[in-house]
Amino acid sequence: MSKKYKEAIDKIVVSDELKSKILKSTAEKISDKELNKKSKIFYLRNTLGYVACITLLITGVTVAKNYMINNKTELDDNLDYVGSTLDNNQNEMTAQGGLLGNSSILELESIEELKNTLGYEFKIPKYLPDEYKLDKISLMFGSLIELTYKSESDEIIYRTERVIGDISGDYNNYDKIEEEKINNSDVTIKSSDNKYYLGIWSDNNSSENSYSINSINGVDKDTMIKIIESIDY
């Protein structure tokens, strides 16, 4: 140990002025750091806010997109139900001159116009009780012919189409189902309480036409058979 050296070094001390300067400069630095921390938290909070908003927006868009896709799928399913034959019919129509356009039901003024539109002959009832008058001529889905006859109390709908099957669109359950041979065709007649509502049949030849007669309020059996018998060229 050097006593003289120690005594000399002991005289080197931090003055009050220097201490004040140190405390002032460090206090400013501490204050700046606090401010920086606060602004970092502020920016972090803002950034998190923006991220949350963007996430919410993306989620919203995704949910909306999925919702629309699902709805579209449901709509497509519904359209499939209606349009299972539509595609075939439209294809046929296209082959026959593209007559359907955007409408699935085409109403025409006369049988002649319908024949001209279709481009081929088709059978129509030659007999209906006097009170029934032809009210509407329609071509549905480009190939299903529908003639509506109305009386004051009833409505008879005749349908024909170049397909094999039940084209009546009447899927009610009736008490009685009978098979009758009319015009060399096997006709299914459906009735309840002796009122005949529906007759459906197909040609027994290569033309593969199907037909239906549908009375909304029912007719007697003779009338039903007589109407069906009258449907011939």
Binding site: M1, Y5, I12, I22, K29
Partner: protein, 163 residues
């Protein structure tokens, strides 16, 4: 650790003189040494170091002071390439008014001897402790102490009391 002005004030009271003495021993300039003291405390605020104990705290402060002195010297020489006369004119000769032959003799030794003399004879560190703090080997520190003592013996003659 949360740094407060109260904590800094307590550190200045406890270690301020030591930091100033290390810096002055290194730089031989009062104003520069005082700047270093300020810078060391600002570094504490900036880094918020966590100390295991008082020894760790003290050695960290000495090491930081020495590093900052070295940086200041390097910066000075890189920016100001001038003659010794210029340095005196610009106040490089700013010293504490301590008129003792012993201190003058120590301060006239090269920097590598001055700092080991200070740490060994004033702070009371062993050669191995000094080696750890300033990042040299124990043998180097012993060698430096030996050479410093021999030089001081030659200079101080009868005044020499470093034992």
């Amino acid at each position: 650790m949360h740094i407060t002005t109260e904590y800094i004030s307590s550190l200045v009271d406890k270690y301020g003189n030591m930091i100033l003495r290390v810096a002055y021993t290194y730089l031989k300039n009062k104003a520069d040494a005082e700047d270093i003291v300020q810078d060391v405390f600002l570094k504490i605020v900036e880094k918020e170091p966590i100390f295991n104990d008082e020894n760790h705290e003290k050695s960290w402060l000495i090491r930081t002071t020495i590093n900052m002195c070295k940086n200041k010297i390097n910066l000075f020489w890189n920016k100001n390439k001038c003659s010794i006369d210029d340095l005196i004119e610009f106040g490089i000769n700013d010293k504490y008014n301590i008129d003792t032959n012993v201190l003058q003799s120590v301060m006239n030794l090269p920097e590598k001897y001055r700092i080991v003399i200070y740490m060994y004879y004033y702070e009371g560190y062993s050669s191995s402790e000094i080696a750890k703090i300033i990042g040299k080997t124990d043998t180097t520190i012993r060698s430096l102490l030996h050479r410093a003592r021999n030089k001081l013996k030659d200079i101080l003659k009868e005044e020499y009391d470093f034992e």
